[in-house]
């Protein structure tokens, strides 16, 4: 990646503009001046401008990821806000929401302020998500208003399910005063029974403890019923099972405030992939069956699932080199996201882009008018047809725990324009 400041004047010439709020591609040049859109039109000429030849490329909103783990503070050996930002840029992401399961967790206004302060100098926008409960213990609510005031955009105890239904109810009720979503990592811990992979034929064969799909769908149904009781935004992270898709689809009909996300890895792999005990496939919730995978894709097509989020979860090589039942859960996902979903989803490019731009921004209430004259530059330029092999050189995260290494992907991010920076991804590392 070649990362530099956006030139004073920059002309994006010959590309197709895909405004995800309009649903159509239009061929036009974009002139950028002082990090803002100065003009959009055909055959713009400016002799003083630097030029990026965008012929055959698609220019769209910078990608937005509702679910990343940047590990700061406390686990800087896995990732930092700075290295996470580079991983984001490499994947075309200009805006991410960082989960609070850090060490210590982001469970106070002060902790939220720490992230906001520290990310000022990062080349992407990092929005912290505050913890729902103090120390993520699932017991007492945090100072939610105070955290929102400091910049928290949602609350979640992600990584740890909120097991106590009463605590979940209180969290939803209390948060209904504010216009932010509550996000619960939905896995019933008693049913999960320390499972390390999907329960099914393959867990039996491998002798690994199974986590049944019901552990997810039952807790999601509980949460959706609770959200129905109070008028709150609820966002379901990393949906992994067919049953959960059905539950969300049914409950969405009576509650428009429900939104849901799916990860690229749950769309791409099924649990047969775990046969070699490769710990990079060990994630929570687990990679599920082929039927579940197909149901997730169907859920995207019929609108049950609103967006794609990576659940970018870096872990060190040493940790992931451990035995399967010992290694931590999680895989990185920012760098490979677009190439993965663009390959696996047989839907038009505008719909794919929407899953990582307009939809997540809408869920969080972020600005979606990025193609207006005067808009601050937050754009990503992709070649949607380029087939390429994802390898370690494409990873900018501090950790390399990706099962996509060696996989041929379709569609590649070539430039990310974010916060005054231009990341050129035509060169690797």
């Amino acid at each position: 990646m070649n990362l530099k400041k956006i030139p004073k004047k920059l002309l994006l010439r010959g590309g197709k503009i895909l405004d995800p709020t309009l649903d159509k591609l239009k061929k036009a040049d974009i002139l950028i001046e002082k990090n803002k859109i100065a003009a959009i039109g055909s055959k713009i000429k400016d002799d003083n401008a630097s030029i990026i030849d965008c012929n055959g490329l698609v220019i769209t909103h910078g990608f937005c990821d509702l679910h990343v783990h940047f590990r700061e503070p406390g686990q800087e050996d896995k990732e930092t806000l700075a290295t996470g930002s580079l991983a984001a840029l490499a994947g075309g992401f200009t805006r991410v929401c960082a989960m609070p399961n850090t060490s210590p967790p982001l469970d106070s206004p002060e902790a939220i302020n720490f992230i906001v302060d520290k990310s000022v100098d990062c080349p992407i926008f990092i929005h912290p998500i505050g913890a729902v409960t103090k120390n993520q213990k699932g017991e007492e609510l945090t100072e939610i208003q105070g955290m929102i005031k400091e910049g928290a955009v949602a609350i979640s105890d992600d990584g740890i399910p909120i097991s106590d239904a009463q605590v979940m109810r209180l969290a939803l009720e209390y948060t209904s005063m504010f216009d932010i979503p509550v996000i619960n990592h939905a896995e019933d811990e008693s049913l999960r029974n320390n499972g390390v992979m999907n329960e099914g034929d393959n867990s039996i064969r491998l002798g690994l403890k199974g986590n049944p799909s019901l552990s997810e769908s039952i807790m999601i149904q509980r949460d959706l019923e609770l959200a129905n009781l109070v008028n709150t935004k609820i966002h379901i992270p990393h949906v992994s099972t067919s049953k959960a898709v059905s539950n969300i689809k049914r409950m969405k009909k009576i509650n428009p405030k429900i939104t849901a996300e799916v990860t690229p890895h749950h769309l791409y792999f099924n649990d047969q992939a775990l046969s070699g005990y490769n710990t990079n496939f060990k994630v929570a919730p687990p990679i599920r069956s082929e039927d579940d995978r197909k149901a997730l894709i169907k859920g995207i097509k019929d609108g049950t699932i609103d967006c794609v989020a990576t659940d970018h979860a870096p872990h060190t090589i040493e940790e992931k080199e451990d035995l399967f039942d010992m290694a931590p859960f999680g895989m990185i996902g920012l760098e490979s996201c677009f190439g993965v979903i663009n390959k696996i989803l047989d839907i038009p490019i505008n719909l794919i882009i929407k899953l990582i731009t307009k939809s997540p921004r809408e869920i969080m209430g972020f600005n979606n008018n990025l193609f207006e004259i005067g808009s601050y530059i937050e754009l990503t330029i992709v070649d949607p047809n380029l087939e390429w092999v994802f390898n370690k050189n494409n990873i900018y995260s501090k950790s390399k725990n990706s099962p996509f290494i060696g996989e041929t992907l379709k569609g590649k991010v070539l430039y990310t324009l974010s916060k005054g920076y231009l990341a050129d991804l035509n060169t690797i590392n």
Partner: protein, 309 residues
């Protein structure tokens, strides 16, 4: 020589090599009947027995097999919890390999650990039990014992009774027996015999009389009493009433049923002494066949000299 470098499990193991190991076991059993029970087949080879989980029986059986073949052996025992505190698994095994060894026999509580081991070392790996995954040498000695008793394995009806869900012995036996043309039925409470087990190619019953009626031989698994704390079955008394192998229960079926047990037995729980020590039990034959089969396995995987045996 074997087609595969390691013996990690029987799921993906070639049937003809499996048959060859069983045949070779009989040749080595003859040696065990001689007054001098030692052959020079693996002279100069060094084998490390790496046991991260206690198992006196399996370790002694391997050690004896190694000594009978004149191999040099080193024992390394460590509980995986003490390993966790300091050195990583990778460091430990790479350190051992650095000492120039030919094979590692490993027992470890994590499923997949023997495959994991092959990533870090060049020596031959023999899986002596990896968690709840596989225990191929036990299945091979069980099949050797069946062949010794029945003269064949093909067409036999073998029942496996007990905690199938958590049993590496059950998994390896199911794969091996299916490969050798036997039929397998498993039996136990549904909490220990989940429905998904069917995908391994077995019939399921939760009725002991049904399996006793059907089987030529039964393999009675040890019930881990700690499973009771987790509510997988309510009491020893109730387990014994439903699934315990007693002479009274066996007599109801009016036929000979050969009885196996991988040991160590909980007498009075999964099997009564009268049944375990009776005429139909081949449990002690299994112990001797264990040494012979492990000799065959080490010999075939370490490329011992054919002429010497």
């Amino acid at each position: 020589m074997m087609k595969q470098k390691h013996l990690l499990g029987l799921e993906h193991f070639p049937a003809d090599d499996l048959a060859k190991i069983i045949e070779t076991s009989f040749s080595f059993k003859e040696i065990l009947d001689r007054p001098i029970k030692k052959v020079p087949s693996l002279q100069g080879k060094t084998i490390v027995n790496l046991f991260f989980e206690n198992s006196t029986r399996t370790r002694i059986s391997f050690e004896l097999a190694q000594k009978r073949l004149s191999a040099d052996t080193v024992n390394f025992s460590a509980s995986s919890s003490s390993l966790k505190k300091g050195e990583s698994f990778k460091d430990t095994v790479q350190n051992i390999e650095a000492m120039k060894i030919d094979a590692v026999v490993m027992r470890h509580p994590s499923p997949g650990s023997s495959l994991h081991l092959t990533k870090y070392i060049d020596s031959v790996v023999i899986n002596a039990g990896d968690g709840t995954h596989e225990h191929p040498t036990q299945a091979i000695l069980d099949m050797t014992s069946l062949k010794e008793r029945f003269g064949k394995i093909e067409g036999l009806k073998i029942g496996i009774i007990g905690d199938i869900a958590h049993s590496r012995v059950a998994r390896s036996n199911i794969y091996g027996l299916n490969k050798m043309g036997a039929e397998v039925m498993v039996c136990g409470p549904p909490t220990l015999v989940p429905y998904d087990i069917q995908s391994l190619g077995v019939q399921i019953t939760h009725n002991l009389d049904e399996i006793l009626d059907w089987a030529d031989a039964i393999n009675v698994l040890r019930i881990q009493l700690e499973r009771m704390d987790r509510g997988l079955f309510p009491s020893v008394r109730e387990y014994r009433n439903l699934f315990g192998i007693t002479n009274e229960r066996l007599q109801k079926h009016n036929k000979e049923i050969v009885i196996m047990h991988p040991g160590p037995m909980n007498r009075g729980v999964e099997i009564d002494s009268a049944a375990a020590d009776g005429k139909s039990a081949i449990i002690l034959d299994q112990v001797l066949n264990g040494v012979a089969s492990r000799m065959a396995i080490l010999y075939l995987f370490l490329g011992g000299n054919q002429n010497e045996s």
